[in-house]
Symmetry: C3
């Protein structure tokens, strides 16, 4: 296809298609080989971005992003990814200028909701070639939320691929960017140590990003060590995915409550806060207590020095001097801006794989 | 013009220009031949959409859409229509990040409004080549609202064509899509029976869509039967337009309060709710009473079976099991997604007719 | 570069680059020759707009506009300017769907702000090739605000040029449009009289626009006379910039409280309201008193008649019959729509100078 530079065309051909309509809800759908091929494709697109901006391989293709929750990086980077490939980006904010949406099955809609997700998804699938969806979990309903029901409802009714722009269980576009950044920082990340650490935060944040970061590290074969205070255990299924990927990719995975153990000899420290979904810290007051008691989990330069020393990553936005000290964030070990930029290229790879054949 | 595939160029040439600056406020401005030529053009664009996305016949042309009221389909489909032709879509929401607007003539603006429509329209006419406008009626002022005063104010001051993206009296872009869908479903719709039926809804909705649907059916020569409960009569001018179009196009039009009479032998059932603008049901409490008493006006599969059987249409958003039963909506007789998709192609035809010569 | 028509390429070559990373915060950064070369470039782009829309010299370049305050003209004209050159426009509204932002240095972010401007700016600089920023002053903190601290924070952390889309001290994109309009109206504006007059307004508006208008008139060599009631003196630094530019460009500048003195023999009357930043009128009640007492500062046709006669300019939005009488605004002497349109071309010149080499 003459619209693609050779290197990009070759990388695109190496990406397998995947089942389930091309949905990208956990980011695990393409399989290990697929994930790695997407990373290669992202690098090829980054190298040839200016040529692609001009040849516009996705001219006439529309990406519609539905944002139930706020976004700076995800929204902007997807807009830019679309632009670099000649696709059109349409943003929809249900809370701003849109009808309230109904999600329940078997409902008589005589309340406030004016539109059901079944029609909204169906219509978006007629208007767009891919639909992106950002919807955070509702706290206290983890059993229901972990299946990402809003995303599933769109996936079953849109008739086009759904891309998860952060859901309750996964933030797979962030995961692609994270894996690209591991490679950028380390060359070959296999058997290199990644410390993923919980960090303090006044709010009870979702677990999607930390899950996807663990999977990203495991997928590129790193020796992944997760550390968090007692009571902040992640969902067993998220841990299981990490274990499986690590085994398949030739790396390893373990969990420890000992920060120093995690940081020792680490080459990358990845910080992320999340709220407990079970136990005493799961309540608002329990989280406030934990936040007060665990402020020494803030990542500091002394922590990075325990590594080889380590580079620092975080998905942003980040609370300075709460999650991480300002000197780390602004220092030469920080890769947070590279990581943010890779959102563009990882997502562009995904778009090209879904729409550019 | 080499930017247009032959079939599109030929269809474009068949669309007459119309007076009044190209405004499309009721959708009746192009006349019967013009409306039908727009439908042909919409089909030609749909057939050649990918070529048009690449040749970009409207490159450098800007469509500015001003949304005083919320929108999912209209906004997104117009954005996509622009993209398919290479035009730029700019969205403006007066209630979000924009100045409050003054509409009164002869006013001393020392209150809250910071900008008068005269300058706002004038400026938009310098920035955009077509301005779209969505503004619903203010209830209880039908005599004033039926002339679509906000639209008229823009039309008289913008210096470029104004496209009505739903006003108090008409929703002409929906009408184009409806007429395209009648053709898609039936081939030649002439003398085929269309039943347009009122349906229950907890809110007092505008009449614009039902008016435009009636005109769409009449314009393609259908035998249009409107049915609604007593007290929900439409505006006499809306009915008059339908009669005139039906006579001109060789179809017919009548009104009945008997649902079964309307559904008998119908090939298409078009459901839409609206609030009465006069009489006892025009008040909020009167509407609530009518809503409670008239729930059996919900369209059900048994209603469609009274037709040949009939296909089902609705403009969306729709309240499941209130306006129409879920099984009809999701069943094979439903054409609501095709109808929604035709918004793209009807509007693209209009844009090309206005900007592509 | 074959993407640019010859006349545009030649005009672009005449624009010098400027220091400080290409930021355009006061609009004075390009120097007098640079400002004038941008005006020539704007005219060349305007002449060749359709060719540029098709050749897309800025394909693949992204402009991200961050709007902390509302905008109609600035937002839309920048969107159109981008489109005319093939660049992508991304809009960000911090108050709508974005994280609250922290601006203080040395802060522990355990309050409500989720993201620091340092990271937000850094990320936007990875996503966009130019970042636009609109942020009005906080009243009562003029000493701090006049340095445009939000803009400076972005400029020091974005790594790409920052374009001021109106700040506390300057509205330089408006200034470019104003200078273009002086030329359009007068041909050679040198030594032609420009009266810039304060006007009544119920709100205490910022001084950015009047500052930039003064600089624009001085930069094209006009004899600039500023008139305002006592107590509405502008910032000394703003006046100093005007004096310096006037001396350099061969024009003149003086201030008077006598309206008739200012209007006498003027060829252009430029009206703008602003709130006092010091003295008794700086308080809300003081402004209300002044507004009541000074309603005869409304610009009327009799004022224009004191000129040669004069043409009328205003940046819009404008309060009819408060700032200026409706007959002036709608009459043949008004150039407000031309002025608004020139926003497109001045900004397009700036974009091409920053990104098109």
């Amino acid at each position: 296809m003459s619209l693609l530079p050779n290197e990009v065309a070759k990388a695109l051909n190496a990406v397998p298609t995947w089942d389930d309509g091309g949905h990208f809800l956990t980011g695990l759908e393409p399989g290990l080989d697929g994930i790695r091929a997407l990373l290669d494709l992202g690098v090829a697109i980054r190298t040839h971005a200016d040529e692609l901006s001009r040849s516009r391989p996705l001219a006439g293709r529309t990406f519609a992003g539905m944002f139930f929750d706020p976004s700076l990086r995800t929204r902007t980077s997807m807009h830019v990814a679309c632009n670099r490939l000649g696709a059109d980006f349409v943003e929809l904010q249900p809370g701003s200028g849109l009808w309230t949406m109904e999600f329940a099955d078997q409902v008589t809609m005589d309340g406030t909701a004016a539109e059901h997700v079944y029609e909204a998804a169906g219509v978006l699938g007629r208007y767009a070639h891919v639909v992106g969806l950002r919807a955070f979990p509702t706290r206290g309903q983890w059993d229901r939320e972990k299946s990402q029901p809003v995303h599933e409802a769109f996936a079953s009714h849109a008739g086009v691929p759904i891309v998860n722009l952060e859901g309750p269980f996964a933030h797979p576009c962030q995961g692609l960017a994270d894996a690209m950044t591991f490679r950028d920082l380390l060359g070959e990340p296999k058997r290199r140590k990644l410390a993923v650490t919980w960090a303090p935060h006044p709010k009870q944040l979702p677990m999607a990003t930390v899950n996807s970061a663990l999977w990203a590290g495991a997928a590129v074969g790193m020796d992944v060590v997760l550390t968090h205070p007692e009571g902040f255990e992640l969902d067993p299924d998220a841990l299981g995915h990490t274990e499986r990927l690590a085994a398949e990719a030739g790396g390893s995975f373990r969990v420890t409550n000992d920060r120093d153990d995690a940081f020792a000899d680490a080459e990358v420290v990845y910080a992320k806060s999340w709220g407990a979904y079970t136990g005493s810290a799961a309540s608002a007051s329990g989280h406030a207590d934990a936040f007060a008691a665990l402020r020494d989990w803030t990542v500091r330069s002394s922590d990075l020095a325990k590594g080889k020393p380590a580079r620092f990553m975080h998905c942003l936005p980040v609370r300075r001097n709460v999650v991480v000290s300002a000197d780390v964030l602004e220092g030469p070990q920080s890769a947070v801006l590279d990581q943010a930029e890779n959102r563009i290229w990882g997502q562009a790879a995904l778009l090209l794989a879904l729409l550019g054949r």
